[in-house]
Symmetry: C2
Subunit: 397 residues, 2 copies
């Protein structure tokens, strides 16, 4: 199914000059012909980019018209000047469409601690507004303007029929490393023409993020700029989805968000495998989540997978320091469906064959049963490779 822009939106992605490489796109606009509903979920880092504080103050909203996105500069740790620059970005966009700054959301990603080149950015926004388009080709342009160290585009599209009407859901994301010069941060913009109220959008987006974007990691470094936005152009009539339709819509949104979120660690800096970590049998979902994150953040687990080494002791021992109580005697581990550890005891297995299976699997599946409780969680992360070190250590900023 070819991605199509939901009704009511026009978008554009172009190169304005924030990134030094001459052809690399670095500015995008998402524009709605009418006041749109907008909800956002943002980084929990205390050290937040100017754009994040700006968006948090505005969303949820039912009269957003525009999202200005730039890559190549995060506008984070830039103090008062950074806040002014962010306000200027929103103001310039608002002047283009004849509205107010508060109708414009801002997303930034890239190097921390440097001022935005405001002359270039200002010119870029004005040019972008002139080039807004409904052409499907603009979708890839916009994704290209979002990405930094990403090696793949991250686009998901769905059609959903609710009560006889067909609606579109289009989501664009970027992310490969969490943060840092010429890379950084997870951003996603989801557009739909389904008629949502601001409150519906807010609840739906939180629910989707909790199942998807909040359960992924590359190296576990929370960014200053993470943001996921949900924009709906369909609210102009005043009618919103019924509860039943909203539930169906949420189901699609969650499913699409998971599909999109997994693409981020799969394309993690230097990654050759996506690692899927399922924890079950915990006392609660939140305990399961803590264990999943601890395993996901273990450099020893991540490098064992790089080496196609079924070194299960690294996985079980990582669970042990997650800060969650469990009894080792109840723990059972499968790796790519092979049983390695059963109720606290090692199990003999064919190491060569499992190593081969790990080598050949794009997705490595870790399945850890921690007890007999009702809690479960799934987390997706990247493996840790020489290329991660090369990307983050060998080149200067």
């Amino acid at each position: 199914m070819e991605p199509l822009l939901p009704n009511g939106f026009r978008i554009v992605g172009l190169h304005c000059g924030i990134k030094s490489e001459s052809k690399k796109k670095d500015l995008a606009l998402f524009y709605c012909d009418r006041p749109a509903v907008a909800a956002g979920v943002y980084t929990r880092n205390l050290v937040r980019a100017a754009s994040i504080d700006w968006n948090r103050a505005i969303t949820p909203s039912n009269h957003v018209r525009c999202v200005v996105l730039n890559s190549g500069n995060a506008n984070a740790c830039t103090g008062t000047t950074g806040k002014q620059d962010n306000f200027e970005m929103a103001t310039i966009a608002a002047e283009c469409f004849g509205g107010t700054a508060e109708q414009t959301l801002v997303l930034s990603t890239g190097v921390i601690g440097q001022r935005l080149p405001m002359e270039i950015v200002s010119k870029g926004i004005k040019q972008a507004y002139q080039e807004l388009s409904v052409d499907p080709a603009a979708i890839t342009d916009v994704n290209d303007a979002m990405i930094t160290t990403d090696s793949t585009r991250k686009i998901s599209f769905r059609k959903v029929v609710l009560d006889g009407s067909e609606y579109r859901l289009l989501a664009l994301a970027k992310g490969a490393g969490m943060i840092g010069p010429n890379m950084a941060t997870m951003l996603a913009v989801i557009m739909t023409d389904a008629p949502l109220s601001a409150q519906q959008a807010d609840v739906m987006l939180r629910s989707a993020c909790d199942r998807s974007f909040n359960n992924i990691s590359v190296e576990g470094h929370t960014s200053t700029n993470d943001a996921v936005l949900l924009l709906s152009s369909g609210d102009s009539s005043g009618e919103t989805l019924t509860e039943k339709d909203a539930n169906r819509f949420t189901h699609e949104l969650v499913d699409m968000s998971i599909e999109l979120a997994k693409q981020i660690p799969a394309d993690g800096e230097g990654a050759t495998h996506l690692i899927q970590i399922r924890i079950s049998g915990a006392d609660s979902d939140s305990n399961a989540d803590k264990i999943a994150r601890t395993i996901a953040n273990s450099a020893l687990v991540k490098t064992a997978i790089t080496g196609a080494d079924p070194n299960w002791g690294r996985i079980v021992s990582a669970a042990g320091y997650a800060g969650v109580y469990f009894r080792v005697e109840e723990v059972t581990l499968h790796l790519n469906d092979v049983l390695l550890f059963k109720t606290g005891n090692p199990v003999a297995f064919d190491e060569h064959s499992l190593s081969q299976s790990m080598h050949n699997s794009k997705t490595i599946e870790i399945n850890l049963i921690i007890g007999s409780g009702p809690g479960s969680a799934t987390h997706w992360t990247s493996n840790l490779t020489h290329d991660y070190i090369r990307i983050n250590a060998d080149y200067h900023t």
Copy 2:
């Protein structure tokens, strides 16, 4: 000052065959001619080696005679069989010196999830007992029998004069990666002939570990086998240190433990720099500690230092997700004494010169002031390099 064995102790380190390489030492005994006081601080991992559970049940004690240490096999995640094997190690040693198993502590380090070759180990312990020695050369033999992926020996020695009597403090440690096959775990044994009660030894050791071994990391993966032991041969008279002397002794013990502990991340797997992270101005020491650990565990901070890249945004943003509240407007950062971020704003600096300084410094100093509170903490960690990946991913177990 050449290390000397404290009075009352005899030690030995030899190759018995747990490690496959023919010359690598893999078994050590620490033996006291009289009942010794022994205290221990152990890993907080829920998934603990058999040796850790055994020692926890015995210490603090005032009648320990022997520590049996093996490298090459952690005897962790080995279920009931592992517990039996550990008990057998203690029993064999006890038969040698004519005492009980409960007078023997056990330390193991190495591969997880495999059974110890008990026939080899049993023969090794008996042979080792025959070769116990007070020769200073035995000190390096024992350290060699402790180490796994370590590239340097880790030995500290002090003399302390208390009330006219001279006492010796000798500490041996190992550690380079936290855990995993053919590597793993932090172990330290501190011997002294100063007369300590079991309670004194326990309090002193906890105090020393809180300032030293508990503040180091390589990749942040808590081991199943970590242990620090303090053994005192000086208690036979029944007299112990006065409070004043105990305070002076503790001061020496803390200082020596810090000196020894820092050697572990300095020799971290693949490490080329020791990173010293000082946090001050936090609301409490424990909040400062949380921030220090979060920075220490950031792969982006560790790789920036590998690249001699003064990428301070990675440091400030890591502090931001430590789960501790602070105001960015109060944060100030120095890197190798260069001011980079002052009360929430970036400061211009000579990037080339700082990069040179980072490249040339064996120890990189991060000094982060988080506010104006009384809380502070210091943590030492390793940088993250290609060699870390090589050691942990490229070779199979």
